[in-house]
């Protein structure tokens, strides 16, 4: 499945280019963070990658043959929560894979242990807090052992400790062998988690570099301005 080679990827539904010729290569390991201003096309890039939206141009070449049927998962900023228990919500991820119900529950319980929500397995999911919802959604995706996991602002509107917990889980999922592509607006998080940074603006990749170089020596003007715009906020901490 890797490397994934994205060439000249375009999505311009009614003439307006949301993705305007994306070129990107993703190797088989690590966490790649996608940064960029609002409306840059970050969420759209993830949705095209997981097959929700068909691009209007360009190619995605999946290495080692084709893209596996269930190899790509995505966690949304506002995860869906069914009106049932936390356990059943997590087990849901295995339903399309034809795993028997008892086994689904067993595996869901195991993954709930790892994200620290096991003690709340039988509670009603819609009652969870924002941070707990995000962890539930991560667990639901993790359970299916995806090769590539797409995360859209998983810590937006979470308090620092909830965000830290989500970051811990993301690291664990990576250690488990899942490739991660994640959108964030939090530059501190980008330095903590990212192996490399993709900077997107106006539907184009302006820069794709290792994290440290991105923050010390950004190549593109847009990235430099973006970092500078955010820097005073970062140093306040």
């Amino acid at each position: 499945m890797f490397p994934i080679q994205i060439r000249d990827l375009r999505f311009s539904p009614n003439g307006r280019a949301v993705l305007d010729g994306i070129d990107l290569e993703l190797g088989s390991e690590g966490i790649t963070l996608v940064l960029g201003p609002n409306g840059a096309g970050k969420s759209m890039l993830l949705r095209v990658l997981c097959g929700l939206v068909a691009p209007t141009g360009g190619t995605i070449a999946w290495g080692e043959g084709a893209r596996p049927e269930r190899g790509v998962m995505m966690v949304f900023q506002h995860p869906m929560l069914l009106r049932t228990s936390v356990l059943d919500n997590v087990a849901l991820g295995l339903k399309p894979l034809g795993v028997p119900a008892a086994e689904r529950q067993r595996r869901a319980r195991a993954v709930l242990e790892r994200i620290g929500l096991a003690h709340r397995a039988s509670e009603n999911a819609p009652r969870l807090s924002g941070g707990e919802r995000q962890r539930l959604a991560l667990a639901r995706a993790w359970l299916t052992r995806p090769r590539l996991l797409l995360l859209d602002e998983p810590t937006a509107s979470l308090d620092p400790s909830a965000a830290a917990e989500v970051e811990r889980i993301i690291r664990e999922i990576r250690t488990d062998g899942t490739r991660i592509l994640m959108v964030t607006h939090n530059l501190g998080q980008a330095t903590r988690l990212g192996d490399d940074i993709v900077f997107l603006a106006d539907g184009k990749v302006c820069e794709h570099t290792p994290t440290q170089r991105f923050f010390t020596r950004p190549q593109s003007t847009q990235a430099r301005l973006f970092i500078q715009g955010e820097l005073p906020w970062r140093m306040a901490f």
């Binding site: 949705r47 997981c50 097959g51 929700l52 049927e69 269930r70 790509v72 998962m73 995505m74 949304f76 995860p79 869906m80 069914l82 009106r83 049932t84 849901l92 991820g93 339903k95 399309p96 009603n124 819609p126 009652r127 639901r140 299916t144």
Partner: protein, 232 residues
């Protein structure tokens, strides 16, 4: 005259009059049976209309919505034609039996229940569609998942079906024949007794009908309150 009629009606109820009890029981069996079948067919049908992507989906939704207001006598006549001796299912000998009444009422409530289910499920589907697609849910898995998720709201569809079935006269009159002790239900009995001038029995049955419908709605209200507290 007016008050004495009411007093007689209340006496009938207070003494658990056997005639009243028999009629009420048959009503519950027929309409209950129709709603069980209507639930098994109408709710999945509505959910399929909400989730499915197929040519003619819009037309199918319009058709279901249109059939929602179908006059019950029309359903009665159609079922009559199919079940009458010369009809395609005449040999089954179902005409003027409770089974025929269940069939007619089932056909009557399916569009109503399907239309309500489609609306309820569609709203939730809008919010869940992308995630279910990413998890590679088949459309049938989506249908069953959504039906389960909407179970508390779908009670409304079931109740609407039950209300429609219990209060209709035309279809059961035509295919049941209003035979005393065999196919006489509350609505047909009320129509007959009123025309015969036995108003106390008609009013007693009318009161029972209203009470049943009120009780069901109170139950549904309580259930929704409970669900809202639990999942809010």
């Amino acid at each position: 005259m007016f008050t004495s009629t009411f007093a007689d009606a209340l006496t009938l109820l207070a003494t658990f009059d056997a005639r009243v009890a028999e009629i009420v029981w048959l009503s519950l069996k027929v309409s209950g049976g129709a709603v069980v079948l209507g639930t098994l067919i109408g709710l999945p049908l509505g959910a399929c209309l909400a989730v499915g992507r197929f040519p003619g989906k819009g037309a199918a939704s319009v058709l279901v919505n249109g059939l929602m207001g179908l006059p019950s006598v029309v359903v009665g006549v159609v079922v009559y034609l199919f079940l009458s001796r010369s009809g395609p299912f005449g040999s089954a000998g179902l005409l003027y039996t409770p089974t025929a009444m269940i069939i007619a009422q089932t056909l009557l409530v399916i569009p109503l229940m399907a239309a309500i289910a489609r609306q309820v499920v569609e709203d939730v589907w809008q919010r869940y569609a992308e995630e279910l697609q990413v998890m590679r849910f088949s459309w049938w898995q989506s249908v069953t998942t959504l039906l389960h998720d909407c179970r508390h709201s779908l009670v409304v569809a079931v109740l609407a079906g039950l209300g429609r079935a219990m209060s209709e006269v035309g279809a059961v009159m035509i295919v049941g024949g209003n035979i005393d002790g065999a196919t006489r239900v509350m609505t047909t009995a009320i129509a007959l007794e009123t025309s015969k001038g036995d108003l106390p029995l008609a009013i007693a049955l009318g009161l029972v009908l209203i009470l049943i419908i009120l009780a069901l709605n109170a139950l549904a209200f309580a259930l929704r309150q409970w669900a809202m507290r639990r999942y809010a």
